[in-house]
């Protein structure tokens, strides 16, 4: 399964990549904000997007909206992995069509559970 991990902090990208490796996912590409992620998504065949929210350039929420507005990418599972914990922000992400939302700091178990859940609901759809 091809993952794209988007975060402006290189340490967080490495952490998520390391955890995905532990879960058996090894095909992982990184991007540091929505502006670099979107062309990769449009030109690639990614099956799962994990994105931060608060990033320079294009933030994660705008990337999510762009993904949902693109006919080719509209069904892509998008997990938001972010420090943004305000109720209105979570609602905003949900309204924009986020598949899952995990607040930093998080545990490996939470990440695994969310990915499994998102993939299961995608398979059932």
């Amino acid at each position: 399964m091809k993952f794209l991990v988007v975060d402006d902090f290189s340490t967080m990208r490495r952490i998520v990549k390391g955890l995905l490796n532990e879960l058996g996912y090894t095909d992982i590409t990184e991007a540091d904000d929505g502006n670099t992620a979107l062309p990769l998504l449009k030109n690639g065949s990614f099956e799962f997007l994990i994105t931060d929210w608060n990033m320079p350039g294009m933030p994660g929420l705008d990337l999510l909206k762009a993904v949902r507005a693109d006919a080719k990418l509209a069904k892509l599972p998008v997990l938001m992995l972010t420090a943004e914990a305000k109720r209105e922000q979570i609602i905003e992400a949900a309204q924009a069509g986020v598949s899952g939302y995990v607040i930093k700091p998080f545990t490996a178990a939470t990440l695994k559970e969310k990915i499994d859940k998102i993939l299961a609901s995608k398979a059932a759809a």
Partner: protein, 254 residues
């Protein structure tokens, strides 16, 4: 009160000249009389204006000196910004160093566990208990290998937790970047204040280069506000994962 100090003494002649020029429809005389009146008014107003201007400039100079405005604007506040950016850089380097060590340690632990398990399996097949009984193979070697397999699993879990713990660099970095943004604003305001106090129309503003260690531009609506800090802000926070899932599900079902 002398004649020069009375209203009549100061202005009657000007008013008379103006009235005479009007009566005679003499525009040149009227203009000349008006200029004399204006000059008289300037003479009276200027000292007061000069005093107010001088007081204001003195107050600004005192403020600038007492508040160390120039030192703050030119050196200390920009230094504070650079120090904070350096902290972000140092923590980033430290986190990467730790992640490097985790990356290097993980395959070593995996290999240790694998080899110990393989040895246990081989010796099991060849009857290690019998070897131990005949003193050709000490019983504690088996125990040691079994323990090595268990310990390797523990170390593997600890390494995974060390990996996750480096997430502090992302969270602390975001918080520090928010403070850097504030310092940048303060720097700009101080620069303007110094310009004002020096009577300068323009002033060299701070050169702010955005790079990996610099904060992002000012927050916009969709940009987010970074990690929650205890005692800061009054928004309703949802941090329990079950509550987040429920919130997402409730919106999705609407």
């Amino acid at each position: 009160m002398s004649q020069a100090e009375t209203l009549d003494g100061r202005y009657r002649s000007h008013v008379t000249d103006l009235a005479s020029a009007l009566d005679g429809n003499d525009e040149a005389a009227f203009r000349a009389a008006f200029e004399r009146l204006r000059a008289q008014l300037n003479v009276e107003m200027n000292p007061e204006l000069k005093r107010i201007t001088s007081d204001a400039l003195s107050a600004l100079r005192r403020f600038r000196e007492q508040a160390r405005l120039e030192v703050l604007a030119d050196q200390e506040v920009p230094d504070a910004r650079r120090r904070l950016a350096h902290v972000v850089k140092l923590t980033e380097e430290a986190a990467h160093r730790t992640l490097d060590l985790v990356d290097q340690s993980t395959p070593l632990v995996d290999r240790m566990a694998l080899e110990a398990a393989q040895l246990l399996e081989e010796w099991g097949l060849h009857g290690s208990r019998q070897l131990a009984v005949s003193s050709m193979w000490p019983e504690r070697a088996n125990e040691s290998l079994e323990r090595a397999v268990r310990d390797a699993e523990h170390v593997r879990r600890y390494l995974s937790q060390m990996l996750l713990a480096q997430g502090y660099q992302d969270l602390s970095g975001q918080i520090i970047q928010a403070v850097i943004r504030l310092v940048m604003e303060l720097e700009a305001v101080l620069g303007k204040l110094v310009s004002l106090a020096n009577g300068e129309e323009t002033r060299r503003m701070p050169v702010l280069k955005l790079d990996a260690t610099q904060p992002m531009p000012m927050e916009e609506g969709s940009r987010g506000s970074g990690p929650q800090v205890p005692g800061v802000g009054n928004s309703q926070i949802v941090s329990d994962q079950d509550d987040i899932d429920a919130l997402i599900a409730s919106v999705a079902n609407q």
